[in-house]
Each structure stands twice: as structure tokens, then as C-alpha cells.
């Protein structure tokens, strides 16, 4: 498959040209620029999660490191969505906003940024793809929205445009959206904040950029020891042990986390033998095809519901549906796929095995109830062979997750 151009087409041509050239940017251009930032963050998540699920030992340092980054990218997405809501628009997570793979980060410079795709985890993937995605910008690199070399430059362009806007482009009342500060759960770094004006916008962007790429030059600590009064991270301490860390030190930037993993290739954990950049139309094992479709359909319904959680109103499917699909269904379906040979008569311990494609399927007409039923049928068809034990366990867990939210999903019309 050729590298996708969709994400680029999705943004108006010359958006950043307009933003830079004018002294009074239009609100709609700011909204589009923020949506672009959201899509950049969004694009990294399937990339990191595919590699994550391919790692067998969830307790390994590599798994834990990648998991922490993937979670923090979700925080960035949430924060970017709040910026969009405050700018008076609704964040988009469906249709053209969904990343396709392989491809480049939306609007990125293909000469200087990595081709991102869905890869089985390896030290080289950490070095050449992940660390490259989170690469700090060079000292003095200008803010740049089109053809940027680093994500920090893109945010720089967004900040410049917002600063140039006369008055306060942000509003917390009378907007169609709802900012979310209560959906980023767990121990990972950063706090999602409500964006109310330019000051809180700057704080939000700083947190994203510092957490991801670190700042320039890399020798200078971005946030040496923030005057944060609590131990808000567990990680590698300067005494060499694992434990509580005060504030948000530079060592916890995504870039350095990935760098550390990629340099320690001898300790890289075992991974499942999955295909990289999978395309289910290549599969000759019908079970792999069915599971791939099921994953994509669940993913698509989840995105649909996730988008709805940022709309103002009473209905909020986040805790009833979205979180459950994220935590209790998709990870298990992903691992089920990764335990299924892509080709007929294959051996799942040898591979190549299937893997999630993270396709948004707007054409699917299957309801959540039908997806649940399909999973149940899939489970019934499994042989009793011990070779399928892992697959059976993952399918059972995913099915249990499906059943828990069936009523809520129906109420949403999913």
C-alpha cells in the first residue's frame, strides 16, 4: 500500500501559509490547526499500541516504557481536543481524521520525519520510528505548520497563530463542545487542563511538548525539577533504582525513554511473530480476516462514541462504553489477532500472525449486538486444541467486555 495522503488532503491547502501571513488569523483556521495537532497525536497511538501488544511480557521494562508513552499520547489527544472545544469547534475522531498506515505524520516533512507504520516491536523500531517521532527540534528551528521536521515546530506554529489572534479566541461557554478533564486516568504523567484563555493554552501546549520531545537544546533540562510538591511519577531515579520521582524531569521525555530502550537491545523482550503493516485482504486464514474486521469495527464504534463524549449535552458514553472498549475489548482482540496465523494452515507460534490494521470502517452496518454475537460464534468454532488456549482466553475476555456494555451501546444506537 502506498503511503497515505489522506491526512494531508484533510487540511486546507496553505493553512499555515495563511496563518503566518496574516496578522489577524481567522478562528476557523485556528480550529483547523488545532485539529491537525490532534491528528498528529492520534496518529502515534495505533503505532505505539500495535508494537505494545506484540510484546509478550507485560511486566518487562520495554512494555512498561512504551505503555507509559502510549497513555501519555492519549493525554495529548485529550488536551488537544480541549483546545479545539475552547476554540468553538468539535474535535473529530472519525472519517478522514482517522490515521491510515503506513504514512507520515499529518503534514510532516517526509524527508526529515519517519515513515510511521504498524510494526512488531524491536530495538530498531524504537530507534528509527518511535524516537524519531518524538525527536526534539533543532535549536532555533522556526515554528512550522506545513512540512514540519518535529512535532514541537507544529505546536510552535499553532502557538504563534493563537498569539497573533486579536483578543481571546477561547471560550468556555456557548460552545458546542465539552472539555474533558476527568477521562485521563491512571498514574501516567501530566494533568489534563481546561483551556480558558491564552495562558491556559500555553500551559497545555508546554506540557505536551515537554512530555513528548523534550525541548531545545537537549542538554538543557526542559523542566529540571518542576516545583511540583508531590511525587507524581514512578520511574528510574537518579539513584539508579525504580521508585518515586519528584516533579517531571527531563529523563522522562518520550524521546529519551525510547532512546534508552533502543540502546539496550540485548534486553529486548520476546515479541509475537506478527506481520508489520498488515492488510487483511492478504490473509488466507478466514479466521484472521474475521477477527481483523471485528477489531476494526469495534475500533470504529469506539471512535464514534469517543467523538460524542466531547459534545455538550447530557449523554456521555465515555465511562459506559468508550473506556470499556478501550480497556476490556480492544487489547484482547488485538492479542487474539496476534495469536492467529495470517495464512491458512499456519502455526501461531511461528507466524506470521495477523495484527490489527486500525482501519476506520464507516461503511460497516453491523451493530454492537451483531459484533458481540460474532465473537460468541467465533469462540464456539474454536477447536479444543491446547494450541488455541491463548486465543480462547483473549476472545473470552473480549466477549465478556462486549457483553458488559451491550445495553449501554444499544442505548447509544451503536
Amino acid at each position: 500500500m502506498a503511503p497515505s495522503e489522506t491526512a494531508r488532503e484533510n487540511v486546507s491547502p496553505g493553512l499555515f501559509d495563511r496563518l503566518i501571513s496574516t496578522s489577524e488569523p481567522a478562528l476557523q483556521d485556528l480550529q483547523e490547526a488545532a485539529q491537525l495537532a490532534l491528528q498528529v497525536e492520534f496518529t502515534t497511538i495505533p503505532v505505539y499500541l500495535s508494537a505494545l501488544y506484540s510484546i509478550s511480557d507485560t511486566g518487562s521494562h520495554v512494555y512498561q516504557t512504551l505503555r507509559s508513552v502510549a497513555m501519555e499520547e492519549m493525554f495529548h489527544v485529550n488536551q488537544a481536543a480541549n483546545i479545539i472545544v475552547a476554540l468553538g469547534a468539535l474535535p473529530k475522531f472519525t472519517g478522514d481524521a482517522v490515521p491510515t498506515f503506513p504514512g507520515y505524520l499529518p503534514q510532516a516533512n517526509p524527508k526529515t520525519t519517519p515513515m510511521v507504520g504498524l510494526f512488531r516491536a524491536s530495538p530498531d523500531v524504537f530507534a528509527n520510528v518511535f524516537a524519531a517521532i518524538e525527536s526534539p527540534s533543532q535549536y532555533g528551528a522556526p515554528p512550522q505548520g506545513d512540512n514540519y521536521d518535529s512535532i514541537a515546530q507544529l505546536y510552535g506554529a499553532l502557538v504563534a497563530a493563537v498569539d497573533a489572534y486579536p483578543g481571546n479566541p477561547f471560550s468556555t461557554t456557548g460552545v458546542p463542545g465539552r472539555q474533558r478533564t476527568n477521562i485521563y486516568l491512571g498514574k501516567f504523567g501530566g494533568n489534563v487542563n481546561e483551556v480558558m484563555g491564552k495562558e491556559s493554552f500555553h500551559a497545555a501546549v508546554n506540557e505536551i511538548v515537554e512530555q513528548g520531545e523534550g525541548t531545545v537544546p537537549p542538554e538543557k533540562p526542559l523542566v529540571p525539577v518542576e516545583s511540583f510538591g508531590t511525587y507524581n511519577h514512578y520511574g528510574k531515579r537518579t539513584d539508579g533504582t525504580y521508585g518515586p520521582i519528584l516533579g517531571t524531569p527531563y529523563e522522562l521525555s518520550h524521546f529519551l525513554k525510547f532512546r534508552e530502550v533502543s540502546l539496550d537491545s540485548a534486553n529486548f523482550p520476546a515479541t509475537l511473530p506478527i506481520l508489520s503493516n498488515p492488510d487483511s485482504s492478504d490473509y488466507t486464514n478466514p479466521q484472521a480476516k474475521r477477527l481483523s474486521d471485528s477489531f476494526d469495527d469495534h475500533y470504529s464504534l469506539m471512535l464514534h462514541a469517543f467523538e460524542a463524549t466531547f459534545k455538550a449535552g447530557d449523554s456521555d458514553p465515555y465511562f459506559s462504553v468508550v473506556l470499556s472498549i478501550m480497556h476490556r475489548v480492544l487489547p484482547h482482540l488485538a492479542r487474539a489477532l496476534m495469536s492467529t496465523p495470517a495464512f491458512a494452515d499456519g502455526d501461531s507460534s511461528v507466524g506470521p500472525n495477523a495484527a490489527p490494521a486500525w482501519r476506520y470502517r464507516s461503511d460497516t452496518k453491523r451493530t454492537f449486538g451483531e459484533l458481540t454475537q460474532e465473537l460468541e460464534d467465533e469462540l464456539d468454532q474454536l477447536s479444543t486444541s491446547p494450541r488455541e488456549n491463548a486465543l480462547r482466553t483473549h476472545l473470552k475476555t473480549a466477549l465478556a467486555g462486549d457483553k458488559e456494555i451491550l445495553t449501554s451501546a444499544k442505548a447509544l444506537g451503536l
Binding site: T58, G59, G229, T241, F319
Partner: protein, 589 residues
């Protein structure tokens, strides 16, 4: 069995080195101690005017049903209390994590094994009686052994390193209504060996401390000349609780209650071994059975180095009882999924990659072998409640907090219910159903009064003075000092931060007002500092502890308490009443 019973069935006194001034142990859950004169408790009440740490008295009440009987009750002529405490630590087996919980093996070593006369290893002042209102103290010391008591024994000579003697296990007092106050020892620990070396966290031959435990009985005399015996209770003396308003995730009440549930005392929860799950099963009350667990996680962030964000919870969402739609199941499941389930005592990372909670050391993370349980988990009953709640089968109702059952629960919820390695107040002996009354699941089987000497063995149907605390560390300061942090693999886990703080906040320059029900540390709170020792290197010998356990024997009474305070407009839990300098380097080195 009588209609009159003493409550709480297990009361906890705590050592202190102030000879006179004392306070009564909290009788509310996560409450402050109680001043005997009824004044509101302040940070100045932790110590006497000379800066010595006050002892915490265990207060005992008599109830007839839900009605309290005191000297003020019409028809009551007198109430006479009898208490017999002893310390059997030196005469018992060595503590080795959970070895012995199912009975000791023949090769399990005794403490002070070379001492032939085992009775010489028991501290036993014999029984004491007290009656009346505001009665003068009755000492349980070496000078007032009751006539005819044959088992009396105290350690002889001066004990090092503090050059003190153990002359008493405490004293009895009464309050204005004739309720009993039991005070424990003065926190004296030591050995006759002048070099005073502590080699190990739990077992140190030649060492003594002045904790203890024993039965509390009473007789009510009526104006008409008749009298009623009262079902006895038990008093046990423990180390100080340095953060009284912060509770442990698993409390002593949870542990004993769980053993009672599993023994069939609450068939609505567990009927003949079958957990009553599902929509028609037992519905835990969010207010009393779920929310406290979450709040305990929140308050831990004031006394341990844990991130506040994942330990802060939206109680409105979590307590919303689902009707036709369930909006928050995902959020409840998120909590269920990070809680370490039964049989996963050795799992730190779940299959999903999440760090399992609690992040606390377990009963046996010290000795490899068959009984390994590296990490603490909720009790079976607590976990069952969380399961039912996550599935949406729960209620959310206000709870009445009065009467003798609440008193029992409140007192024991302020104590540690795990990990038992060995623990702070009591250890795994409290999980042994054989020591409890068949009909009264929290009441210890009490042996008839004895003229001594005390029994050296274990008779669960007739528990004697000293039979509960003898499992604990000797001296208590050794375990108390060492059980701060626990290296396990590449991680360092915490032990009992709610009783023995690891990190504390001081009273710095704050601003802003918070309205949260349970406060959470934030940017304005200032940095956390080690309660004892240093904090910058987890490998150091004095990482959040004294480098030498003997220093805990020397300095325990000067450490600070953690108390909830209004600090410049913000509610916080901060360190108060510390008389040790900060920073403090023992031996001036």
C-alpha cells in the same frame, strides 16, 4: 455469655513516655484521639508539657444491647474492672513471616532458646482491679504484685541502650462515668547487654519491651445487692499511631470481619462457602464498604511517596447506583482491574500491563518457599464487595454510626489489618477463628482467672494474658524502623504508611482554598520529606528509616505525628509535634 458485654471486644492502647498525661484512643473511624477532659484535641495534646509523648489509653464501655451501662445508669451501684496483662514475646517462637500460622513446625526456633526457665521470659505483673469514677491510677508494676499471685516476673537490672528499667506494663484508670481506661507501658525497650545490638527486625534474644495484652473483665453490682458478670474483652498495647487520621487499606476490622464472613457468620455475604454474588446477591453499601477503601488510597498520598492523581476519585460517579442505564461501569471496572485479586499475591504487573494495587508489601516477601505472598491484597470480603460494586450490584445509603458494633468497627479500623510481617498492633493470629467466641465473632476466648504462673503454650479456647502480642517483633522498634520501605525485585514497596509514615508534608507557605472532601496534595503543598532518615537514595541504609534499629529505640518518642490541619486556608495532613530536629543525624555524624 451474658446480656452485658464490654466494648470494644479488642481495645488498643499505645505506648508513650509521658508518665501522667494521656489521651484516649480514637473511637471514631480516622478520628483524632480524645482528651480525657473532653477538650477538642489539638496538636499540643500529643505531648506533655515536657515534650514527652503521651500514652494512648484504650477505653472500655459496658453495653446491654445498644444501651451503655455506666455508674450514671439508674440502679448501678458499682462497676469493678479486672485486667491482667502480660508480655510473652521473649518466651515465644521466633517470628518468621507466616510460618506458624497453620501451627508451628517442630524445627521452628524459639526466641531465647538457651533459657531453660521459660517463665523467666514472661513479663507478668499479675491481675489488677479498679472501680469507681475518676479512680486513682492502679499500676501494673513490680511493686504492687497482688498477694498470692504466683506468676509475677519482671526483667531484672538496667536495660541498654537507654539505661532504663521495665518496672511496669502500664496502669488502670477510670473516667467520670466509671468507664475503664487501660494505659500501656512507657515504651521502654532494651537489653541487659551493654552493647545493645539489634540484629534483626523481629527476633532479638536478650531484648525486652513493655507492650503486652490480656483480658479485661468486669462485674456490675446493682443497688438491690445483685451483680452481673460481663462478657470480657481484650486489651492490647501497640506502638504509637503517628498518623491517626489516616487509615490502612486493609484494617484490622477488615481482617477479622473477613475471617468471620468466611466462617459463616454473615450468610447474606457468604453462605456455606458460597459468595452471594450477582444481582440478587449481597449488595455492598457504597458509603460504608466501598468509598472508605478509595478514600484510604487518597489519604495514603499524604504519608507515602505516591502520585496523587491516580489516587483521587470522583465519588459522585463511582457511587452512582445504576438504574436502567449504567453510565460508569467502565470507570468502576478500571478500579477493579488494578486491584490485586485473591491468589495473585505475587503479581505486581497484570496481564494488561497495569501495576497492581495496593503498592504495598505482603505477608511474606522476605522468605522464599511455599508460603510466599509478596504483595498485599484486599481481603476476600473486601474484594467481593468491590466485584459486586463494579458489576453494578450495590446500594448507596447513609450509615448510622453509633452503638457498640460501630465502636468496635471504628476502633479496629484505625489499626493495621495487613501485611502481617508481623504488623503494627497484632498479626495473623487475628485471622485464626479458633481464638474467637463462637457466638460473638470479634470476642476472644478468655481463660478463667489464674493465680499464675501463666501457660507457656497456645490454647485457642482459653487465651491468656500475653497470647496476642507475643507474635510481634521484639523490640517493637526494630520492625517499626525497618518496615518503612521494602525492596522487591527492582522496585521498592511500602509497608504501613498510615501508621508509620514514610514521607510527610511540613507546614510551609501555602495559598488557595480547596473544597474537596478528602484533600489531595498539589503544587502549593511544598515538597514531601522523609519522616525519618533520608530520601534521595533508595539503596541507603537510612532511606526513610534510621540506619540502626537501636536508634528507633532511642528516638521513637520524639518523632512527629501527622494531623489534618487548616494551613493558611487549605486543608492538609502535615507533620506536627515533632521534638527531633529536622534534619536529624543520629550520633551527630
Amino acid at each position: 455469655m451474658t446480656d452485658y458485654k464490654i466494648y470494644p471486644p479488642i481495645g488498643i492502647a499505645r505506648v508513650g513516655n509521658a508518665p501522667e498525661k494521656c489521651y484516649i484512643g480514637p473511637e471514631t473511624y480516622r478520628g483524632l484521639p480524645i482528651n480525657p477532659d473532653g477538650r477538642d484535641f489539638t496538636q499540643d495534646d500529643f505531648r506533655d508539657e515536657q515534650g514527652r509523648m503521651c500514652r494512648q489509653a484504650a477505653r472500655f464501655h459496658i453495653f446491654h444491647g445498644d444501651e451503655e451501662i455506666t455508674l450514671d445508669t439508674p440502679g448501678v451501684k458499682a462497676i469493678t474492672w479486672t485486667v491482667h496483662m502480660a508480655n510473652k514475646k521473649a518466651s515465644w517462637y521466633e517470628f518468621a513471616t507466616n510460618e506458624g500460622e497453620q501451627g508451628y513446625a517442630s524445627n521452628h526456633p524459639l526466641r531465647n532458646a538457651d533459657v531453660e526457665d521459660r517463665h523467666r521470659l514472661i513479663i507478668d505483673p499479675g491481675p489488677r482491679q479498679i472501680s469507681g469514677a475518676d479512680a486513682a491510677p492502679v499500676h501494673m508494676d513490680r511493686n504492687t504484685i497482688p498477694e498470692g499471685y504466683k506468676g509475677a516476673n519482671f526483667p531484672t537490672g538496667i536495660l541498654y541502650p537507654n539505661r532504663e528499667c521495665i518496672d511496669t506494663l502500664g496502669e488502670l484508670r477510670t473516667d467520670a462515668a466509671g468507664r475503664l481506661l487501660v494505659l500501656g507501658g512507657l515504651g521502654v525497650s532494651g537489653t541487659e547487654d551493654e552493647s545493645a545490638v539489634i540484629k534483626q527486625y523481629a527476633n532479638n534474644d536478650g531484648w525486652w519491651d513493655d507492650t503486652g495484652d490480656g483480658p479485661v473483665s468486669a462485674v456490675i453490682e446493682w443497688d438491690n445487692g445483685s451483680s452481673n458478670p460481663v462478657d470480657p474483652a481484650w486489651v492490647s498495647v501497640a506502638p504509637p499511631s503517628y498518623a491517626p487520621e489516616i487509615a490502612n487499606l486493609v484494617t484490622l476490622w477488615d481482617t477479622i470481619f473477613d475471617s468471620a464472613v468466611r466462617a459463616g457468620h454473615n450468610p447474606q455475604i457468604n453462605n456455606q462457602g458460597i459468595w452471594q454474588s450477582g444481582p440478587d446477591g449481597y449488595k455492598p453499601n457504597f458509603q460504608s464498604e466501598i468509598k472508605p477503601l478509595l478514600e484510604r488510597a487518597t489519604t495514603y498520598s499524604w504519608v507515602a511517596a505516591i502520585p496523587p492523581k491516580p489516587h483521587s476519585f470522583d465519588m459522585e460517579m463511582l457511587g452512582a447506583v445504576p438504574d436502567h442505564e449504567d453510565h460508569y461501569r467502565g470507570l468502576r471496572n478500571w478500579i477493579l482491574d488494578v486491584l490485586r485479586p485473591p491468589a495473585a499475591e505475587n503479581t505486581i504487573i497484570s496481564g494488561r500491563g497495569a501495576t497492581m494495587m495496593p503498592y504495598l508489601a505482603g505477608d511474606n516477601c522476605l522468605i522464599g518457599g511455599t508460603f510466599t505472598s509478596t504483595y498485599l491484597r484486599l481481603t476476600d470480603t473486601q474484594f467481593f464487595f468491590v466485584q459486586q460494586w463494579a458489576a453494578g450490584h450495590f446500594v448507596n445509603e447513609p450509615v448510622a454510626d453509633s452503638g457498640p458494633q460501630s465502636l468496635t468497627r471504628n476502633v479496629l479500623e484505625n489499626c493495621v489489618g495487613g501485611a502481617f510481617s508481623p504488623g503494627i498492633e497484632l498479626t495473623w493470629i487475628t485471622r485464626n477463628r479458633a481464638i474467637y467466641n463462637h457466638d460473638d465473632p470479634f470476642r476472644i476466648n478468655t481463660a478463667p482467672p489464674t493465680a499464675g504462673p501463666l501457660n507457656l503454650g497456645f490454647t485457642p479456647t482459653a487465651m491468656e494474658p500475653g497470647d496476642l502480642t507475643r507474635y510481634m517483633a521484639i523490640p517493637w522498634q526494630a520492625d517499626f524502623n525497618e518496615c518503612s520501605s521494602q525492596p522487591i525485585g527492582e522496585r521498592v514497596l511500602w509497608w504501613w504508611p498510615a501508621q508509620r509514615p514514610e514521607f510527610v508534608y511540613l507546614e510551609p507557605q501555602p495559598q488557595g482554598v480547596r473544597q474537596a472532601t478528602i484533600p489531595v496534595p498539589d503544587e502549593q503543598t511544598g515538597g514531601q520529606v522523609a519522616w525519618v532518615g533520608t530520601d534521595f537514595d533508595q539503596m541507603r541504609g537510612d532511606f526513610i528509616s534510621f540506619a540502626d534499629d537501636v536508634q528507633m529505640v532511642q528516638y521513637w518518642s520524639r518523632l512527629g505525628f501527622v494531623m489534618e490541619k487548616e494551613v493558611q486556608g487549605e486543608r492538609r495532613f502535615v507533620e506536627v509535634a515533632r521534638t527531633l530536629p529536622r534534619p536529624f543525624t543520629p550520633n551527630g555524624s
